[in-house]
């Protein structure tokens, strides 16, 4: 699984990073004003810089954030073209009224600054969420995450982790294939048909890798052993639990609150029971699972303080948390939310040990081999 860092000591447990990501996402929801979102993105960037190493996921970070930014721009353009009214008209384009069966709204026409700004601010929150998600992927050990899961989910979790590992290897494959395509013609770039020329080899490389990996997993006994009666029992209990939860939702919609609460309670108990039965049935020991340390708990507490502070700020009437573009004005900035966002940077207090470079011999060895031919060197 060609991923992550080369180094061993990731300073924080995978669970700590998950808590960090949840806290950062909550922060984005509680303080969606563009200035605070920008601060969160900066923190996410610094997290990748410090903890992301040189692995493929760290390289995927700018790609994902860039993709989110593109969607933000598209969203702004669509909103500006279809939403109208209000002051601060930037410019006016020819308008096209769509027929009723297409929604009946006007495309084009006046483009107003508040509409553009509001759409941009909303899109920016999505960019922030993607940045947090990309940062989590860059810094977390997916295998460590699998080990945190209940044992019944071990194999499913592993398949997901292996699947995620294809993101960086696909980025590498795309790079190699593009280089091969350019080198084939001696540097002449031919755009026509380039998509097919490049997609087929990328898929081919991915398929080849997937087959090798699945055979390697199969040969090493993955998914060995037949389903036991306890597995079957767990399946039925789980099904009953999920059905109860579904029924609870129906009861809630129908206004039967008491029944809904009862069904929810029963459903949750059944699902937990199913997981427990299945976990006991696997009889699987884990190899050296990583334990949470006191420092992990301190970091978790620190980052969780961020949304807590924002909730307090919100209830005490902080107006800078959310920003509304109309009337048009600059977003404000208060000390408490800034401190709250800064708390998300707590994981930066420790950095991982440096990655050793993949070499087997030293410069001296090279020099020794070279010495034999020093006489003939003609550079």
């Amino acid at each position: 699984m060609g991923s992550g860092q080369g180094t061993a000591e990731r300073p924080w447990h995978a669970l700590t990073w998950v808590v960090w990501a949840v806290a950062a996402t909550a922060t984005l929801q509680l303080a969606p004003s563009p200035v605070y979102v920008l601060l969160v993105i900066v923190v996410a960037f610094m997290v990748v810089q410090t903890h992301g190493g040189s692995g493929g996921y760290a390289r995927a970070f700018p790609v994902l954030v860039g993709a989110a930014a593109v969607f933000m721009v598209l969203r702004v353009a669509l909103t500006a073209l279809t939403t109208h009214g209000g002051p601060h008209v930037l410019w006016t384009w020819p308008a096209l009224a769509l027929p009723d069966w297409l929604g009946g709204f006007t495309v084009g026409g006046t483009i107003e600054a508040p509409v553009v700004a509001q759409a941009a601010a909303e899109g920016f929150v999505v960019v922030g969420v993607i940045a947090v998600f990309a940062a989590l992927n860059a810094v977390v050990s997916h295998h460590e995450l699998v080990q945190v899961l209940p044992r019944a989910f071990h194999e499913v979790g592993l398949i997901l982790a292996v699947g995620i590992a294809f993101v960086p290897s696909t980025i590498t494959a795309v790079r190699d294939v593009r280089a091969a395509d350019r080198a084939r013609t001696g540097g002449r770039v031919v755009r026509r048909g380039r998509l097919v020329r490049q997609i087929v080899p990328v898929l081919d490389l991915g398929l080849e890798r997937a087959i090798t990996l699945s055979e390697s997993m199969d040969s090493r006994g993955f998914a060995r052993g037949a389903t036991s009666r306890r597995d079957q029992a767990s399946g039925w209990i789980g099904l009953a639990g999920i059905t109860a939860l579904g029924a609870a939702f129906v009861a809630l919609v129908a206004g039967r609150r008491g029944l809904a609460v009862a069904l929810t309670g029963g459903g949750v108990v059944a699902v937990i029971g199913a997981i427990a039965v299945a976990s006991a049935a696997t009889g699987r020991d884990r190899y050296r699972p990583r334990r949470l340390r006191a420092s992990d708990l301190v970091v978790m507490a620190g980052v969780c303080l961020s949304p807590v502070l924002l909730v307090i700020a919100d209830t005490t009437g902080d107006r800078t948390l959310t920003w509304v573009a109309s009337p048009l004005r600059w977003p404000g900035l208060h000390a408490v939310p800034v401190v709250a966002v800064a708390l998300l940077a707590v994981p930066l207090v420790r950095r991982p040990a440096p990655v050793p470079t993949p070499t087997t011999a030293t410069r001296e060895t090279v020099a020794a081999v070279g010495a034999g031919v020093a006489a003939e060197v003609t550079t």
Binding site: E208, T360, R363, V369
Partner: protein
């Protein structure tokens, strides 16, 4: 005692011809058995039969029976054989499941439901057996090729299987890494009694270690026996063995040590004249590509450091150096695929490059279309050039096949033909002999020499010193991104610790064909000119 038994095994991949024909074979328990044969002879298929990957994972038509330590693969899937067979695929990097060496080694133990204390001990033992305990916390992607391969073997070994099966474990790594891997396998075989079944193309290192060799040809067992008997008339035999064959030595040597002993026993053959150097190419012409003081950094790490290099028309330059020394990066810089931080690369003519992995290039539905596609991209059609390169690289019989259904060595040649057909005078080849058999190497050698003789130039990044000795006029050795040695191929190779085998036995001759030419001259009457 037979550890693995093949009884009348016939197998064909879906939509493909039969890859194995009525194959009968007994692999002796405790032996280190080497499987050899040309590209597409069925080596990988045979190995993958041992734990049932063929046919359980591959699909296809399967007849006969394979019995591995008393269990038939007909009713045992690979996962049910995980405790008796460890299998290691060709590409070391793609087979890691977990991003930390230690946990990847433990993967099989977790699946076998071992108690935590046993796992702990087994992982330590497997790491020590392969000498990689210091790499336990690393991510496999950060390791060198040889380290990756040893980590993959540790992952197969942790379950203490009775047999280890390896498909060309040294084909993608440098000679030093290959030595480490083969030494580890020999030690496991000798100390733990593990049965080892190993496929290899390059026999210089592997053949002397084997107890038995199985030679395959077109899906059939051609010969089984001791290395000396099987290699006596095998075209892919190590250089010293072919030298012994040429000079009539008995017994045939397998190693440089044995060859020197044989040379001391026999009178020195009457060799007339000096070795002419690789292919007898004309004197180099104009400079086609010039690199001056090139610095390249990737991901904040300096990969090339002050590299200067001239490539003349009519030259074949071998680019040598261990994995990670900067060979591929230099090729990419020469091809203009990456920018330089400092220094300049100027090319007078078109420069085309073939990537290390041919699959990064191939996309057409037949081999012939793959070549025509390059010409179409260049805006012309040239059936003569297509035919020329199909024949030059010996892939004309495969012209209507789908590139994906070919063996690794065949695909490599298709990729080279697909790039060369464009007519670029300068060709850059990255590890072109990976997975190639003797016949393919011969075809590649001839095509490279012919291209240079017609006024082009070729740069070969390779670990294959024997190939370099046979066809290069110049050689550049890279180490840590710097030029460690450069000059004409003969003097650079002759001064190296990793010199071609023949030089160690009959200096100053580098290759068997050098010696053969000298013998011919002597037979013609001893005229050194």
């Amino acid at each position: 005692m037979s550890a693995i038994t093949f009884r009348g095994v016939t197998f064909g991949y879906p939509d493909g011809p039969d890859a194995l024909h009525h194959l009968d074979l007994d692999v002796v328990a405790g032996d280190l058995t080497l499987v050899i044969g040309g590209s597409g002879s069925g080596k990988s298929t045979l190995l993958r039969c041992v734990n049932g990957l063929v046919p359980h994972s591959s699909g296809g038509r399967f007849a006969g029976e394979v019995i591995t330590f008393g269990r038939s693969t007909r009713d045992h899937a690979p996962r049910d054989l995980a405790d008796v067979v460890g299998i290691v695929a060709q590409d070391p990097e793609a087979q890691f499941v977990v991003d930390r060496v230690e946990h990847d080694v433990a993967f099989v133990l977790e699946n076998l439901r071992m108690p935590a204390t046993t796992m702990r001990r087994r992982v330590e033992e497997a790491l020590d057996a392969l000498g990689i305990a210091h790499l336990r916390d690393r991510s496999p992607s950060s390791l060198s090729g040889g380290e990756q391969q040893r980590a993959a073997i540790a992952g197969a070994l942790a379950a203490a299987p009775a047999a280890l099966v390896l498909d060309e474990p040294t084909s993608q790594i440098d000679p030093q890494g290959a030595d480490d891997v083969l030494a580890a396998l020999t030690r496991l075989n000798a100390d733990l009694g593990t049965t080892v079944l190993l496929a290899e193309h390059r026999l210089e290192r592997a053949a002397p270690l084997a107890h038995r060799i199985v030679a395959l040809d077109a899906g059939r067992v051609q010969a089984v026996g001791t290395p000396a008997t099987v290699l006596a008339d095998h075209p892919g035999a190590p250089s010293v063995t072919r030298l012994g064959r040429l000079l009539g030595w008995d017994p045939l040597p397998l190693t440089v040590r044995e060859a020197r002993a044989a040379a001391a026993r026999h009178p020195r053959p009457d060799l007339v004249g000096e070795p002419v150097g690789a292919p007898g190419l004309p004197a180099p012409g104009d400079v086609l590509v010039r690199a001056r003081g090139v610095h390249v950094g990737l991901g904040g790490r300096s990969v090339l450091h002050d590299v200067s290099f001239d490539l003349h028309a009519g030259e074949v330059v071998a680019l040598l150096g261990r994995n990670g020394a900067g060979k591929s990066t230099l090729l990419r810089a020469l091809a203009g695929l990456i920018g330089t931080e400092r220094g300049t690369v100027s090319a007078e003519v078109a420069v085309a490059a073939v990537p290390q992995n041919p699959n990064a290039l191939l996309f057409a539905s037949t081999v012939r279309r793959e070549l025509e596609e390059t010409l179409r991209l260049l805006g012309r059609s040239d059936p003569v050039a297509v035919e020329h390169w199909l024949h030059a690289l010996g892939i004309a019989p495969l012209a209507e096949r789908h590139p994906r259904n070919l063996s690794g060595g065949e695909r490599q040649r298709v990729a080279i033909a697909a790039v060369a057909v464009g007519g670029a005078p300068v060709l850059l080849l990255d590890e072109p002999t990976r997975g190639m058999d003797a016949a393919s190497r011969r075809a590649l050698h001839d095509a490279v020499v012919a291209h240079a003789a017609s006024g082009g130039a070729v740069v070969l990044a390779t670990h294959d010193v024997e190939l370099a000795a046979e066809c290069a006029t110049g050689a550049v050795v890279l180490g840590e991104g710097e030029v460690v040695a450069a000059g004409d191929a003969r003097s650079v190779l002759a001064g190296s610790l990793f010199a071609p085998q023949v030089l160690r036995v009959l200096p100053p001759f580098l290759t068997v064909s050098d010696v053969e030419a000298a013998l011919t001259r002597s037979a013609l009457g001893g005229d050194p000119t």
